[in-house]
């Protein structure tokens, strides 16, 4: 049974200068519809500000949308910034136009999953649900059967 009173908190970030935010807004709406709490940085967030917000808001996962081609440098920088803040356990998920040749580079930078322009929403939502579970457990917010007190 997966239904719980816990609302995972997801930080969605649009790093870099690209202003195409159709994708990230759609993901935000889908995660909200799936009863998650979404914090969106807005356009042109710097990587340090994304890492800082993730720690400050104690989010369960970070989702980055990158379409500009700057994904490798952004993800490497994010890893450094998370490390500085002792927050490498926050899973990072990337969506955007990421050529297959770059997938290993992103994996090296600690990215847990990459979604493309045609990834179905339900798959993205399910993945976030799955990836936040260990952290939710660790925070004492693990899944409980329905009926158990909150």
């Amino acid at each position: 049974m997966r239904v719980t009173g816990y609302k995972p908190r997801i930080l969605l970030g649009k790093a870099g200068l690209d202003g195409h935010d159709r994708g990230i807004k759609v993901i935000a709406a889908a995660l909200r519809d799936a009863s998650m709490e979404v914090i969106y940085t807005g356009l042109r967030a710097t990587v340090p500000s994304i890492a800082a917000a993730a720690v400050q808001e104690s989010v369960d996962a970070i989702g980055l949308s990158i379409l500009s081609g700057a994904h490798v440098s952004i993800c490497r920088e994010l890893r450094k910034e998370l490390e500085k803040r002792n927050a490498l356990d926050i899973p990072v998920v990337v969506g955007g136009i990421i050529p297959a040749a770059d997938w290993p580079l992103l994996a090296e930078a600690g990215v847990r999953k990459i979604f493309g322009p045609e990834s179905p929403l339900d798959e993205v939502v399910e993945y976030f649900r799955w990836v936040v579970e260990p952290r939710a457990w660790a925070n004492g917010n693990g899944p409980r059967p329905v009926g158990e007190g909150v």
Partner: protein, 537 residues
């Protein structure tokens, strides 16, 4: 949104009913004379439903304009010469994001973005390189630039002057449409009001000084962000109205600016609805301009360019995209637009390769030369279906435009975030409908249970070396220019920004002093501030 006439139904039904168009217009099994509401006059006659010229493409075939520009100015110059050699008839300059946002290539925020989605232009020196050996009195250039349009246009004019081409001989278009950056594309810099002022300063200055340059191309990026076709046309025409009102309030007559405005739209694979969209749009725009006081026919004609591709292209099975852009370009030719950009089949992946860019251009050449579409104006005119759909689209577009007027006009709906929310909602509905298979996208959700595979396409290599080279050349410019002259010019830009005069002369002076895009933008930003998007949630 309320139902009005045959306008769009409330939200989600429009997306799920297979017998409705993308804008929610119900489709009959067949059409006959009983569905005709009007018989539009011939092409070239007000309100130009059937096209803005009587002889349409016999007089001049549409401009085939492929978007190009990547890496360094030197590489872009090479690509331009290649495309001109292949028979392309106009140049289209894509700028990288730092240039679009007024950041120099050595700005920390530009790290990793220099030369990525277009070419980097830091100073006049880069523009000189891009157009080296290309006679600016013989080509027309379209620059996809908005926030920093004034700076880039000043640079283009300066390059022409150095080639010995006088200002009144250069031709082309700058996009210069800050409203769509705020509403849909996100490359905004200044708040709404100063953005409008700067854009209108450019228009006013160009009207008097560059008679062959179109100072604004009102663009429909709302569509690629999620809007349906009727909304796309409504938002874009409403933006046109906002600009027209701003110019009239400066005492410029509709006859004077009407001849120089142009529009830029998106075309997807919904063939007949796209044709109807353009026919209806021309009719609405001509009528509005006439009511606004235009008396010259040329001031009422909706000149339009378009991109075929955008969000309609898929990453899966990329060669399918060639079929898509062919259908889209055919729709555009049937609709009688003036300029066409066909995206490359690998656009959902990367910057196009030489092969994909050339093949896209070939699609247009095949349409223009091997089919009859360029020989007869408005070839679909008189079709019961197309005429009826044109009327229905007109109703749907007008309904949305009235809604915007009721809310205070385009600038106000952007200020409150109403428009941005509408678009985000539509994008979400669309994605849900695609995921659920209600909107078929061949190769993506149809046939069912397609194995998902990474398609092998050749990717244009982009290296950080290009960015390094760009930073070195910027350093050289900074070293070689006269710092006192730069400082004086930038102070004048800031002074003018504080006042109410036209900003263009000060910007031209700064450009000639080799002040950079970043420096000029900063001078303006110190006075104007930065745009703050409204909260959408």
């Amino acid at each position: 949104m309320k139902k009005r006439g045959s306008g769009p139904e409330p939200r989600s039904t429009a997306a799920v009913d297979p017998y409705r168009t993308r804008s929610g217009i119900p489709l009959e099994p067949y059409y006959g004379p009983e569905h005709l509401r009007s018989h539009p006059p011939p092409p070239g006659v007000f309100p130009y439903t059937r096209g803005i010229h009587r002889d349409m493409y016999r007089g001049k075939v549409w401009t085939m304009r492929q978007y190009a520009g990547f890496g360094t100015p030197v590489q872009t110059n090479e690509r331009f010469r290649f495309l001109l050699g292949e028979g392309q008839t106009g140049l289209s300059l894509a700028l990288d994001l730092p240039t679009q946002l007024g950041l120099d290539s050595d700005d920390p925020l530009a790290l990793g973005e220099v030369g990525k989605v277009g070419v980097a232009v830091d100073s006049l020196a880069d523009m000189e390189t891009i157009f080296r050996g290309i006679p600016l009195d013989r080509v027309s250039t379209s620059m996809t630039i908005n926030g920093t349009a004034a700076i880039l246009l000043a640079m283009y004019e300066a390059v022409a002057r150095k080639q010995g081409v006088p200002a009144d001989r250069i031709s082309g278009t700058v996009q210069n449409d800050p409203l769509k950056e705020i509403g849909a594309r996100g490359a905004w810099i200044f708040p709404l009001d100063p953005s409008m002022r700067l854009a209108m300063d450019l228009v006013e200055d160009t009207l008097s000084r560059l008679p062959r340059f179109n100072p604004i191309s009102i663009a429909s990026h709302y569509r690629d962000a999620g809007a349906n076709p009727a909304e796309e046309m409504a938002y874009t025409l409403s933006a046109g109205i906002a600009y027209a009102r701003a110019l009239m309030s400066r005492g410029i007559s509709p006859d004077d600016f009407g001849t120089r405005l142009s529009f830029f739209f998106y075309t997807y694979t919904n063939f007949f609805e796209e044709v109807a969209k353009y026919r209806a749009g021309r009719r609405i725009w001509a009528t509005w301009m006439k009511e606004a006081g235009a008396t010259q026919e040329n001031a009422m004609r909706m000149r339009a360019a378009c991109v075929c591709g955008g969000h309609s292209l898929t990453r899966a099975e990329p060669l399918n995209n060639l079929a898509r852009i062919t259908i889209e370009a055919f729709a555009v030719a049937c609709a009688g637009l003036q300029s066409v950009f066909t995206a490359a089949y690998d656009e959902a992946y990367a910057i196009p390769t030489e092969l994909s860019a050339k093949t896209s251009l070939r699609v247009q050449q095949i349409l223009a030369l091997e089919t009859e579409v360029a020989k007869v104006a408005d070839p679909l005119g008189g079709s019961y279906f197309v005429e009826s759909l044109t009327d229905s689209m007109e109703d749907a577009i007008r309904a949305v435009m009235e809604e915007i007027e009721k809310r205070g006009g385009m600038v106000e709906v952007l200020r409150t975030g109403w428009l941005q929310r509408q678009i985000a909602q539509r994008a979400y509905e669309h994605q849900r409908a695609v995921d659920e298979g209600q909107i078929p996208v061949v190769g993506v959700n149809w046939p069912k249970d397609l194995p998902r595979e990474e398609a092998p396409v050749e990717v244009q290599p982009l290296s950080e070396e290009a960015a390094e080279e760009q930073r070195r050349s910027l350093e050289r410019v900074r070293r070689e220019r006269d710092p006192a002259q730069v400082e004086k010019a930038l102070a004048r830009v800031a002074d003018e920004a504080r006042g109410e005069g036209n900003l263009m002369p000060a910007i031209r002076e700064a450009v000639l002093a080799y002040a950079t895009v970043g420096e000029i933008t900063s001078a303006l930003r110190r006075v104007f501030g930065t745009y703050e998007p409204p909260s959408l949630f």
